[in-house]
């Protein structure tokens, strides 16, 4: 039942977007001017291609996000399990170890200056 309701919601939400996009396709004003369809670069003739090499920092941000995200995501079940267990001391000791590891990683990242954006 849960799954069914999710699927129905998903289908209706997608259908909504499709219908909205169709509306302007049918009603939209149509006029063919060649220059309208050109690439936009502040009104001048476009230079080079858009698929150039971008800054490595974007990529480093994403990679560090992935690793930190995995760590933090696994804290969520920990928070739930803590409230079910009697053995809280053990849980908190593990948590402190976990956090120490996370902080060591964090300090390493900050020290390596790979997330410094200004030159």
């Amino acid at each position: 039942m849960e799954f069914l309701s999710f699927v129905i919601f998903l289908i209706i939400a997608t259908a909504l977007g499709v219908v909205l996009m169709m509306i302007s396709n049918f009603l939209g004003f149509k006029k063919k001017i060649v220059r309208t369809n050109d690439i936009y670069e502040s009104g001048v003739n476009p230079v080079g291609s858009a698929t150039r090499q971008y800054d490595i920092k974007f990529y480093l941000t994403a990679i560090l996000f992935l690793l930190f995200d995995v760590e933090i995501v696994f804290l969520l079940p920990w928070a739930l399990a803590y409230n079910n267990t009697q053995n809280t001391g053990f849980m908190v000791a593990g948590f402190v170890f976990f956090m120490v590891v996370l902080l060591v990683g964090y300090i390493f990242v900050i020290n390596s200056k790979s997330l410094k954006w200004e030159e």
Binding site: E2, F3, F6, V7, S49, T51, R52, Q53, Y54, I56, F58, Y59, L60, A62, I63, L64, F65, L66, L67, F68, D69, V70, E71, V73, F74, P77, W78, L80, A81, Y82, N84, T85, N87, F90, M91, G94, F97, F98, V101, L102, V104, G105, F108, V109, S112, S114
Partner: protein, 172 residues
């Protein structure tokens, strides 16, 4: 029953797209869709928590990383020069068909056992309790593994300055 078949077909279609699509960016996006449909299957099987983790980590972070890298590397300068060793392809497709056949035999012989549902309703709570009592140590070790991965990533990609000097030289 119907939704099982539909989800399977969707997942298979996206998985085929991952392998056979001509553009690598398209295959990365297809991988994202495969991950999302696998998450739907998890959801349908009743393991909502694992579905959420799958969406968060596999679809939310790993797939985004692939897309980012493709935008960084400027893949379109590489032409698609995959050479096709026809004999190798035929042999490995045959081998995979044999593997699938063996699999099908095993599944068909144990079909009652395999399609049973033996998970209790509050399985997530039990799962968490197990993870954070009996299997706490491996979990902590996995965290250390993540730390090692963070350090490795920074060290591998961290020669920004050397690279810049190189680029400037090549421009001149």
């Amino acid at each position: 029953m119907f939704s099982d078949i539909l989800l399977t077909i969707i997942t298979m279609a996206f998985a085929l797209m991952v392998v056979f699509s001509k553009k690598t960016v398209v295959s990365a996006l297809a991988l994202l869709m495969t991950m999302l449909s696998i998450a739907m299957i998890y959801f349908q099987l009743g393991t909502v928590f694992l579905a959420a983790i799958q969406v968060l980590v596999n679809a939310g972070a790993i797939a985004i990383l692939f897309v980012f890298v493709m935008m960084l590397i400027n893949l379109e300068q590489f032409e698609n020069n995959r050479e096709k060793g026809k004999v190798k392809l035929v042999i490995s497709v045959l081998a995979i068909l044999v593997i699938m056949g063996v699999f099908a035999l095993i599944i068909n012989n144990n079909i009652e056992v395999l399609t049973a549902n033996n998970i209790p309703d509050n399985s997530m709570k039990l799962l968490f309790d197990k993870l954070f009592s009996v299997y706490y140590l491996p979990f902590e070790m996995a965290t250390v593994l993540l730390l090692a991965a963070i350090v490795a990533c920074i060290v591998i990609t961290g020669h920004e300055k050397a690279h810049k000097v190189e680029l400037e030289e090549s421009h001149e």
